[in-house]
């Protein structure tokens, strides 16, 4: 590979923002902040102070009280803590849970594990354009339903669910509502102060913070108690014990502050990039957009062609770092379950490419991606046997 890499995989992870790296470096510099944040001595209190500051930064981003946030290792752990935590705490009341077929693996596999333990899960299918119908959720809720978990922005397609409307259904019916907001936190405005959301998962590395740190928002500890996944100390209200990674927390806090300040300009930038990319590839024969522009987060554009092998397409445009709808490298050999749930065929799902952009993406990056995508499709089609 001699081509320069163009990174268009921001939905997988984002590069660390320079100001975030600087804040973390300052924290870890020798002799600066090293104490255990749970210790009562001055070194520990110094760490606890910066942890508190970071908690306030994240709380400001979500417009909530900082005490509502529990540090975790990322959205996967937050999702597990919320879903398993609620299910186990309330199993004496009922063992029915609800989620969607198009959730991230971190949610899907958690519910699958609970199914193996005897819980009953209703898997809702998306309707037109990938959106979950409010009536569909209302109909699925039963007297023994304990939790509904719906992701905000889909990681593959960018399809954005109306979590406010869905949350009100849950609240009206007395069911806890969890939102996987890994793709939306720091990217779109989230005001949880009056939102009908009981739990919300977020992670730092999706919005220019460090990998390995996230948080779970819990609206009301008393109303919705949860059972911890691990035991071993009193940190984070005993819900997530373990010594806090102070420098990662500082990075997440800084990333949240930057996101809060730059969100509007970030969104305008992403919208322009999305439109530029779609304009550049919309006339490729038989290309389909997975998720309508109207309901999708502009930082993600997922497109499919049915007549090209997805793995070869990815290798053909290798200098452009994107994600594929194909898992052909993996042992499963399965195409994206999310795209198949949207009605795409195996071949369409396998030939899907997810472009995702970010703060540092330029028009030149998009133009290079357009050129490479078109070139790779043409190459693969010229190689193919006749029908």
């Amino acid at each position: 590979m001699t081509d320069a890499i163009i990174y268009l995989d921001f939905a997988s992870t984002t590069p660390l923002a320079a100001d975030v790296a600087a804040a973390m470096h300052e924290c870890t510099a020798a002799g600066n902040i090293y104490g255990n944040a749970a210790s009562l001595h001055p070194a520990g209190r110094k760490s606890a102070l910066v942890v508190d500051h970071a908690r306030q930064q994240v709380a400001t981003l979500l417009n909530v009280e900082p005490e509502r946030l529990i540090w975790t290792s990322g959205a996967t752990e937050s999702n597990n803590l919320a879903i398993q935590g609620v299910a186990r705490t309330r199993q004496h009341r009922g063992k029915h849970l609800i989620t969607m077929l198009t959730e991230h693996k971190a949610v899907v596999d958690t519910f699958r594990a609970l199914e193996r333990e005897g819980y009953e899960v209703t898997w809702l299918t998306p309707g037109e354009g990938g959106l979950l119908a409010v009536d569909g959720l209302a109909d699925a809720i039963r007297a023994d339903t304990q939790l509904v978990s719906i992701m905000h922005i889909n990681n593959e397609t960018g399809i954005t669910q109306n979590i406010d409307e869905l949350g009100h259904i849950c609240r009206d019916r007395g069911v806890s509502f969890h939102v996987d907001a890994a793709q939306s936190t720091g990217k779109v405005r989230l005001d949880l102060s009056d939102a009908p959301i009981d739990f919300l998962s977020l992670t730092g590395h999706k919005f220019y913070g460090p990998q390995g740190i996230g948080a779970l928002y819990i609206a009301d500890f008393a109303r919705a108690p949860i059972t911890p996944l691990v035991f071993g100390g009193g940190q984070e209200r005993r819900l997530r014990p373990g010594t806090l990674p102070v420098h990662l927390i500082v990075g997440l806090g800084q990333a949240a502050e930057i996101a809060h300040e730059q969100m509007d300009s970030d969104l305008r930038h992403l919208t322009a990039l999305n439109q530029r990319l779609w304009k550049g590839i919309a006339d490729v024969a038989d290309v389909q957009r997975n998720g309508s522009a109207e309901h999708c987060f502009p930082g993600i554009l997922n497109v499919s062609v049915a007549d090209v092998n997805g793995e070869s397409l990815m290798l053909g445009m290798e200098s452009i770092c994107v994600s594929s709808g194909s898992a052909c490298n993996a042992t499963s050999g399965e195409s994206s379950y999310v795209l198949r749930a949207l009605g795409r065929s195996d071949r369409e799902a396998g030939g899907a490419v997810r472009f995702s952009f970010g703060r540092t993406t330029t028009n030149d990056d998009i133009d290079a991606a357009i050129e490479r995508y078109r070139y790779a499709i043409n190459q693969m089609r010229s190689l193919a046997p006749g029908p």
Partner: protein
């Protein structure tokens, strides 16, 4: 350095510049074509050979397939040229797979190549008998 590259250098070379991709362009004393498909993935492969004076003079392929199968088809066509029909029948794609470092989970998908070559050999044997 980028580690865990799923494709070795030979796969990359064959994929980026498949010299044996395409169709036969000249007349040959005998021509044969066989097509195979992998139902699970929808991958398709066609191999065409031209035979003159008892030897495979040209072999070409077309593929809508993963990089490993494209590379395997390219190497196979290269190796088939100047071979006899008997050698076509005995052609063992496992040596090609070894050279391409095909990962174990993909070997099943590459075996479509074996099916195509077997069909091709069978067609030639039948045409010779006739």
């Amino acid at each position: 350095m980028i580690s865990k590259d799923p494709y070795n250098e030979l796969v990359r070379d064959c994929f980026s510049d498949p010299k044996h991709a395409g169709d036969l362009t000249n007349e040959h004393q005998i021509t044969g074509v066989a097509t195979g498909a992998e139902s699970a993935t929808g991958d398709r492969l066609t191999v065409t050979v031209g035979i003159d004076d008892g030897l495979i003079s040209v072999a070409r392929f077309r593929a809508d397939a993963c990089p490993h199968l494209i590379a395997a088809a390219e190497l196979t066509c290269m190796d088939l040229e100047y071979q006899t029909i008997g050698e076509l029948r005995d052609f063992d794609p496992h040596e090609i797979m070894r050279r391409l470092s095909v990962p174990p989970e993909k070997i099943g998908k590459i075996l479509v190549l074996e099916d195509v070559l077997a069909t091709l050999a069978q067609k030639f044997e039948l045409s010779i008998q006739e």
